[in-house]
């Protein structure tokens, strides 16, 4: 508390903020089918989605609201350490059913045109209010909207990525808080940040994002690639090996700069 104390009387402040969230689009209404399938999927990429907030997409559900056991889905996801916070899309009845399980109905600010708001008079005031003061939650739809550069979500991996494991942050940035070991592979369509040692392969920018970069606090990778351009150990030039480094493309040349 070294800063000059300001007299603040109010106990809180309400501010609008934008968030990027993953949408989990339900294709099957049955919790006993959906939850194990998700568990199975994410076991292959341990750490992925752990404690990540997700929004449940209702647009693809054809079932009637009373057929969907939202309570079971929510508790199943929470058991997998995934935190559902709300719903997007779907009919008003479906959203109401989900609200019963504590899932807020979020309005998709990413592309207003996609889900036609069914009851016009109900949706309009919400839209007006959110434009003025209320927090707006931006939910990128599955096919990423055009200005994707600033709308990417981020995948965070808290465990070491071990030899033979491959983690792909699809349409997202990737943060690894530990190390990426030799023989492991981390892939992101956006940037890759490694806050431990990067000793495996790092492939950033997917096939075409030339703005993507790779950051590592201990730079010692087997291979780095950005948007399809790659270098192996012989090609690192005067990169600060073993130290903090960022890799980016300048034109078609890969540059390795000391950071920090």
């Amino acid at each position: 508390m070294s800063a000059a104390p300001q007299t603040r009387l109010e106990p809180f402040r309400l501010r609008g903020a934008n968030f990027n969230l993953l949408v989990l689009r339900l294709l099957d209404p049955r919790a006993e089918v959906v939850v194990p399938a998700i568990g199975d999927q994410f076991r292959r990429a341990p750490g992925m989605l752990r404690h990540a907030p997700v929004v449940i997409g209702l647009d693809d559900l054809t079932a009637r609201p009373e057929e969907v056991d939202f309570t079971a889905i929510v508790s199943g996801l929470r058991d997998l350490a995934i935190l559902p916070i709300g719903t997007t899309g779907g009919t008003a009845e479906m959203r109401a059913a989900a609200q019963g399980a504590g899932l807020a109905a979020l309005r998709n600010a990413g592309h207003d045109t996609a889900p036609p708001p069914p009851p016009a008079e109900a949706a309009a005031p919400v839209a007006a209010a959110s434009a003025a003061t209320a927090p707006v939650t931006t939910v990128p739809g599955e096919p990423a909207p055009p200005p994707a550069g600033h709308q990417r979500t981020t995948m965070v991996v808290d465990q070491p990525v071990r030899a033979g494991q491959r983690i792909w942050a699809q349409g997202a940035d990737l943060i690894v808080t530990g190390t990426v070991n030799p023989g492991a592979e981390v892939i992101a369509d956006g940037h890759i940040h490694v806050y431990g040692a990067l000793r495996g392969r790092a492939i950033a920018g997917g096939t075409d994002n030339m703005q993507a970069r790779v950051f590592a606090l201990q730079f010692d990778p087997e291979l780095v690639s950005i948007a399809g351009y790659y270098a192996v150990r012989d090609g690192y030039g005067d990169a600060p090996m073993g130290r903090a480094c960022q890799v980016r493309l300048v034109g078609e040349t890969m540059r390795f700069d000391k950071i920090g």
Binding site: R43, P160, R162, A163, P182
Partner: protein
């Protein structure tokens, strides 16, 4: 309920079977009821290292295929009476094992034993996967050498994703690192990986460091688990590892090159 402890490594020849034999003997010496299972069907070795090869009548495959009862296949150790061995078959291959059969054996053994030690075959294929599937704890045996470390890293990833605990979304398998064939002199010369380099990559709590020792080969050939050769450094290091496994605090021994000056011992010991 018995604890299932899988001894595994990915790579072959690093000391899984030697460690399984020493570790299970050590646990049994502390009064625990221990059974050690050889999962290396087709290349069975555990019975040799335990010195019971002449007493093998039935094996794990006979039990799985219903040709023998579990009690008929279990061999009671003559040196430590709370220790039993379930040998592998020499004449079959890994396909003779199946998950249901192994599940039944482990369930039955759980009733009578405190610890079930599974001596895994090398590799990451069926035999190794079955040996780690039911694990509650895993001892990953690693030599201070890059390919062994890489393979151990791989098997740790497999344990995280393919064990029953992972599939059931239970608390993950508890992992231990056992570094074997550690030669402080060669480490000092830079010919072997340093302990901290191994630990840094694998990021698993260290259970013990077994020094390179002639006693190990001698003990294996004699069919006598090396831990019984209490004068030797390897035996003492295994005994320490058993103690740590049971929750005791033991300082690491045998990790510094000998014949060091008194000053470097005092000042270099911690930092190294």
């Amino acid at each position: 309920m018995a604890q299932v402890v899988t001894v595994t490594s990915g790579k072959g020849g690093v000391g899984k079977t030697t460690s399984s034999a020493a570790f299970s003997t050590g646990l049994a010496q502390r009064g625990k009821k221990v059974v050690v299972i050889d999962f290396d069907v087709g290349l069975r070795n555990l019975d040799l290292i335990m010195g019971v090869e002449r007493r093998v009548v039935f094996d794990i495959v006979n039990v799985i295929q219903g040709e023998a009862r579990l009690n008929q296949a279990l061999i009671r150790d003559k040196r430590v009476d709370t220790l039993s061995i379930l040998p592998a078959s020499q004449t079959r291959d890994k396909d003779a094992l199946n998950r249901d059969g192994v599940a039944k054996i482990i369930e039955e053994l759980s009733k009578d034993f405190d610890y079930i030690i599974c001596d895994s075959p090398a590799g990451i294929e069926k035999g190794a996967l079955l040996a780690l599937y039911f694990a509650d704890q895993a001892i990953v045996v690693t030599n201070p050498e890059v390919s062994s470390v890489r393979d151990s890293d791989r098997i740790l990833g497999v344990i995280q994703s393919k064990s029953k605990r992972a599939e059931d979304n239970r608390e993950p398998v508890r992992e231990h690192l056992l570094v074997t064939r550690y030669d402080p002199i060669r480490v000092a010369k830079g010919e072997m990986l340093k302990l901290e380099d191994v630990q840094e990559i694998l990021a698993v709590p260290l259970l013990g460091v077994i020094p390179e020792s002639e006693a190990v080969l001698k003990a294996s050939n004699a069919g006598n688990p090396v831990i019984l050769d209490t004068e030797t450094s390897a035996a003492q290091a295994y005994a320490d590892a058993v103690s740590r496994f049971l929750g005791e605090e033991k300082p690491m021994r045998f990790i510094e090159a000998e014949k060091k000056g008194i000053f470097s011992r005092i000042f270099g010991g911690r930092a190294a």
